[in-house]
Amino acid sequence: MHGRPRKPLKEEDESVLSAKAEKLRLLQSQFLANHQNRIYSKEALDLSAKLLENNPECYTAWNYRKLAVQHNLSQSDSDSVASLFDQELKLVENALRKNFKSYGAWHHRKWVLSKGHSSIDHEMRLLNGFQKADPRNFHAWNYRRFVTDLMKRSDEDELKYTEEVIGENFSNYSAWHNRSAILSNLLKRKAEGFSHKEKVLQEEYEHVRNAIFTDPDDQSGWFYHLWLIDQTVKNDAPLLVSSWPSRGSTITLNGHGNNRLHGLSLLNSTLSGTTTLPIILYFNQAVEGINSSTVAVKSEILKEDLVWKPLSVNNSSTAQVWVVYLKLGNMELQLSKTYSIEITIGYSAGIVSSNGYHYGYPSQIAFELCVQTAHTEPVEGQYPKLTSWKDSDFQKVDHFEESNFVASTDHHIPTTSNWCREAIDEEITNYQDLLSDCKIGKLTLARLLTALDLLSPEHDKRKKHTEEILKLYTELMKLDPTHSLYYKDEHSLVLLQQITSSEESLLPHCHYYKDATETNTSYVCLRLQNLLLSRMGSIKNLLWVQMLDLSHNELRSIEGLEAMQLLSCLNLSHNKLGSFTALGPLRSLKSLKVLNISHNELGSHSIDTRRYLCSSPLAHTEVFAWDRFEILCGSYSATKFWEAFLIFESLNLTDLNITGNAVADENFTSFIVKVLPTLKYLNDEEL
């Protein structure tokens, strides 16, 4: 029941209603009897028509009408065929007048028309009537698309129709929606008059601006405008935006327990005690087709074919980030020798985006690999020390070895044409002048400024408006508290972009980690703690990080972290992670050893918002290892611990801190110790 007031019925109404109910019940039971006995006489048909005019939702009666048509068709001469179908069209019309949201009625009409015996001339007139009465009825709009298709009415004519409807009343989201669909189509096939995207988009900006400026609180034009921005700035073709190792870098390999670093370099990395070397390719969008024929890796040390893996939490064959692992153990590497490795991407076709666009800008990455000390297996009984995250264990880095690392490794943006920047610029002026004091004005301005910075051809100008954008999001949090966490998430993304986009801004967050014994290699730790971050971003700038401190933020998820393949120590303590499934990205981090997830909200929530974003049997992306689970789980029920099992089973942690979470009771800790046989420290205590 929609929109019927809650009030007790008067006695006389009640008796009227009860009589109506009795009549309808009789009608329905007579109809069902006819249906069951396949009676298609005139009386029976009249009865079903009466039923449908009273209750158009009775789907079985529509089915019966179709059976009746089929039955009577076989007994009709060609003259009466048309009238047989016309009778159905008439019935649908009557039923729709009773309830024009009836799925069954609309479908019956489509069924009749698709038989090809009826004229479609009447349909547009009928539709115009319905669409006038309710311009937002999506059944009517769907039917309109069906009819215009059947009539082969041109996209251009339908585009004009949306213009007319919007002209009558701009507050018609359905029309804006249809406009976007038709326009996409026209632009895609470069129809006459639509081959110059910039001209078309400029007109559309003006069009939707009128709607938004007329009533900024009306949402009808909001999403259309965002779509226009996207159409202006987005690169259809996939391209590489970042990689590890970077172009021109030197990767140094150390055995276990070896000397500390000298200077800090973001370009060059030193890896210790590793037997595999990941190569990470980061694209601007999800792509498929990364394999040894589209990406060639050339080096004297390579003996086997490389198998590229999509880094996706789902089991799809497309991903934004791809990785391959070089098995160092299989290579006969000599000490102090430097090997060069060259990767060429996209010289042969095959890398394709999900929209079907091909990789546009073939590129090359060359780096060097150098073995400083031999790889040795860790001595039995000699464990790494407990990792501490105390401030006193960190020492500031005062400078980097090289300058301009981020800019030099930037694979971004081939050439953006001027009109994009001009179009965005003009929009900014309009919004700044006229609409900077309301919610949608501020939000649009923040998005436009972000787009403008992104389009800048010079790397160092891409932060030009960051402060202004951050300010806008801060204002929005206050202005529109209902959606404050949306703005906060956006704020976090911009802040991370600001921090990670240059050496200068990264430097204050880079620290040496001072291992108490000084026997281990000292790590460089990126410390992004206490920044009020509610989500992660700019991961493409952080592929080099081996030790990361994200503690004391407001993170609910760590989406994207799966790309940080070098990560070995991670502090996520004092955040808002609400479930084990939120830790899903960690499952791809083969080198992760130390994990602090203390003081989060694990076990505090009955509803898990990451349940379907983590691969699991529920999403058919994971086969559950029942045998292993049962051995480990013993008497515990699977439904209680499966998430933790799923996450930790594939990790090789030596140090885990999970205190301060509702889930971490005695049963759980004894379970987790069994799942993680490599564990040496749990909750800061040696096992």
Binding site: M1, H2, G3, P5, R6, K7, L17, S18, K20, A21, E22, L24, R25, L32, E57, T60, N63, H107, K110, W111, R136, F138, W141, N142, R145, S171, Y173, S174, H177, N178, S180, A181, S184, Q219, W222, F223, L226, A286, N314, A319, S354, T482, H483, Y486, S557, I607, T609, R611, Y612, L613, S615, P617, L618, H620, T621, F624, W626, A638, T639, W642
Partner: protein, 313 residues
């Protein structure tokens, strides 16, 4: 703000079942199977499924099954995918899936998949992404997802994606929160949520919350308690539910209760029905309202029922 009058809602749901002769019951007679799903799931969420006679329900459900394997909305009504899912869901609630011939039901669903990956609702060929969700959800519960062409099914759903990140009934159809739930749910169950632009869709969905705290189903429409399910479950599946105010929504749902006679309506002071009572209670469960069993956002069944299906050997 009032509290959830769960006892009254339980009594209301049980009483509707007895008023078979009321006008509403007669008008909705053809979808009694959906009604059973709404009412019984709401009872289970409120911890009162044991007030119902399991055998009676199960034998009635089975009397709605046809030779094709599909279920009708009531005895004597034609089979349709809509009622087939409800039947399977209710049997799952009672842990009685063993009474159906799983392959027979699966064959019915499989027969409705079209060449382009879409699904028809029944033999008469109406195509809609609602039916894609239903088919996928149904065969997944029956552990037979491999019997349909998942790749094509997913591709068809993606072809219904719009500029706002949402989904329509068929390609080109306008985004609608109910439709979005179906498409997001189907993508969740098939492990394909990476094909969604979560930030774009999340913004559209969170903007469904209006001043009163309620959610509407499309821009510039009135709020309605049923969207507490469609919008909320979608936001949860893509992990963007923190973008709305949970407190305001809880208040809106509670304001739609008939605190005297039980039941929940679409908007405050409107007439109650089982449909909105279920969506109100399910919405509160998704909002972690105390005293309610958690419900799974994709399968639309209590979490313990879903876990029982997928995590018992």
């Amino acid at each position: 703000m009032g509290e959830l009058v769960a006892d009254k809602h339980v009594r209301y749901i049980l009483s509707v079942e007895k008023k078979k002769d009321s006008f509403e019951s007669v008008v909705m007679e053809h979808l009694r199977m959906n009604g059973a799903y709404w009412g019984l799931t709401a009872l289970d969420i409120m911890g009162k499924l044991d007030t119902v006679d399991t055998n009676e329900v199960v034998s009635w459900i089975m009397s709605c099954q046809h030779e094709s394997g599909g279920f009708g909305g009531n005895v004597g009504h034609d089979p349709h995918i809509l009622y087939t899912l409800s039947a399977v869901q209710v049997l799952a609630l009672f842990n009685k899936l063993d009474v159906v011939d799983v392959d027979k039901v699966t064959n019915y669903i499989v027969s409705l998949q079209n060449e382009d990956g879409s699904f028809s609702g029944d033999i008469w060929g109406e195509v809609d992404t609602r039916f894609s969700y239903i088919a996928i959800c149904c065969v997944s519960i029956l552990h037979r997802l491999d019997r349909i062409n998942v790749e094509k099914a997913v591709k068809y759903i993606i072809s219904c994606k719009n500029m706002d990140g949402g989904f329509g009934c068929t390609p080109g159809g306008e985004s609608h929160a109910g439709q979005i739930f179906c498409c997001v749910g189907a993508l969740a169950i098939t492990g394909s949520l990476d094909l969604i632009d979560k930030d774009l869709l999340g913004w559209w969905l969170c903007e469904r919350q209006v001043k009163s705290g309620g959610l509407n189903g499309r821009p510039e429409k009135l709020p309605d308690v049923c969207y507490s399910w469609w919008v909320l479950s979608s936001l949860i599946m893509i992990d963007r539910v923190h973008w709305i105010s949970k407190e305001k929504l809880i208040k809106f749902i509670l304001d739609c209760q008939d605190t005297e006679k039980g039941g929940i309506s679409d908007r405050p002071d409107d007439a109650v029905d089982v449909f909105h009572t279920y969506f109100g209670v399910a919405g509160l469960s998704l909002l972690e309202y105390p005293g309610l069993k958690p419900i799974d956002p994709a399968y639309a069944l209590p979490v313990d029922v879903v876990d029982q299906i997928f995590f018992s050997k």
